[in-house]
Symmetry: C2
Subunit: 210 residues, 2 copies
DNA sequence: CTAGAATTTGAGATAAATCTCATTTTTGAG
DNA sequence: CTCAAAAATGAGATTTATCTCAAATTCTAG
């Protein structure tokens, strides 16, 4: 799962056009990882890809388009991985904890993904909504299973999302700390109405089976 | 408490220098309210203040300085108001709820303050820390009173802060909704380890005595 | 009222960035 | 191998800011 060549990996045998495009997308991921989404300049991206500035415009209409494509692509990839890691789980708390844990871990293990995801959630409301849809289903499950006591609205999803972003950003800045990831998972369960001890138990249990 | 002339109100009788400076600071608040902190340009500020672009540099070294001064000033003012509104309260949950409620209400009643506070918390980590210090004392109180079950770290403060920001931003975008403010207060109490029903009761009680 | 000090002014120097396009280079089908 | 189409190139037009500074204006103390 080399994030270094996320896009180029899929272009074996394809034409030059596709390969250059992939190089630009990969360059964009690197630059976003290094300087953040807001400060990713076109020239940074083409330099990183070893191409001329003008080449960019043969492949993307403007700066926004490439950022959006990168963000959607990373979000989809992460979504697939999380889906796979929780597909066998039935209990809603276990699903929420495992998904959250996996999400934060992926963002931190591949800092390039972390920067893209944080940038996307901050600057692209449409993507934030998409990413949080994954959570929505599991929260519904929890209500149905009688273990979550919540008012399931986009507003609640945004509040949970904000906590996850803080967790990732803090760990990217001050160093990875699984204790913080665990605390984040517990806090989400608390938000869902679970007691501190129930939340703690659920997190411990979910981690043991990983 | 006219936010329109937050700074100019304090300059009766002072010299021209002070008055012009205050006009620039007030202009900055307006512009931040309208376009956000990231997009507040020097020229916008001087236009708003009815002054020439060059005048700005007689009073501030650069863009950052005026933004910082505006942010600190608004944060202090809001801090004072909140302190006053909770000074008589003894119970930690009541203090947390009242302070949070007041903070969100101030940000929404004076949209100029809301934009400044959100911009500051997002772009100026130092200010975020200062603002969250107010909360810290009350969380400590709650631990001492045996009603909060938390690991009181800057990390937890940041997670709570992020929820408040989401609440303000959502209401600024989609319209003021006291239900969302109440939900935010309840969610903070849940994070602190209270049960959903205890949280709900504490919020209802704190609001009745306002 | 006056003159020197303080303040304001706004044109323009400077500094990024984005995006365009005529030209050159590369590609790959026949 | 050839050559027309596709792609890449990078200089520079354009845009949009910040910040400087000599000149004009406004204060204020005597």
């Amino acid at each position: 799962m080399k994030a270094q060549h996320h896009f180029q990996a899929d272009t074996k045998g394809l034409g030059k056009r596709a390969r250059t495009r992939a190089a630009l997308l990969d360059g964009a991921i690197s630059v976003i990882a290094e300087k953040g989404m807001a400060d990713a300049k076109i020239t940074d991206i083409t330099d990183q890809a070893g191409l001329a500035n003008g080449t960019f415009y043969n492949h993307f209409a403007d700066r926004e388009q490439i950022l959006r494509e990168v963000a959607y692509s990373v979000a989809e990839e992460v979504g697939r991985e999380i889906d796979a890691s929780i597909s066998a789980l039935k209990a809603a708390p276990a699903r929420v904890v495992t998904a959250t844990w996996r999400f934060i871990s992926l963002a931190l293990e591949e800092p390039e993904w972390g920067s893209v995801l944080i940038g996307a959630v901050e600057h692209m409301p449409a993507i934030r909504k998409d990413v949080l849809q994954y959570l929505r289903g599991d929260l519904e499950k929890g209500i149905a299973q009688g273990v979550f006591d919540i008012n399931l609205t986009p507003f609640l999803l945004d509040q949970i999302g904000a906590m996850v972003v803080v967790s990732i950003r803090t760990q990217m800045e001050f160093g990875v700390d699984p204790g913080k990831t665990a605390e984040t998972c517990e806090n989400i369960l608390r938000l869902c109405g679970q007691t501190p001890s129930a939340a703690r138990r659920a997190v411990a249990k979910a981690l043991k089976s990983t």
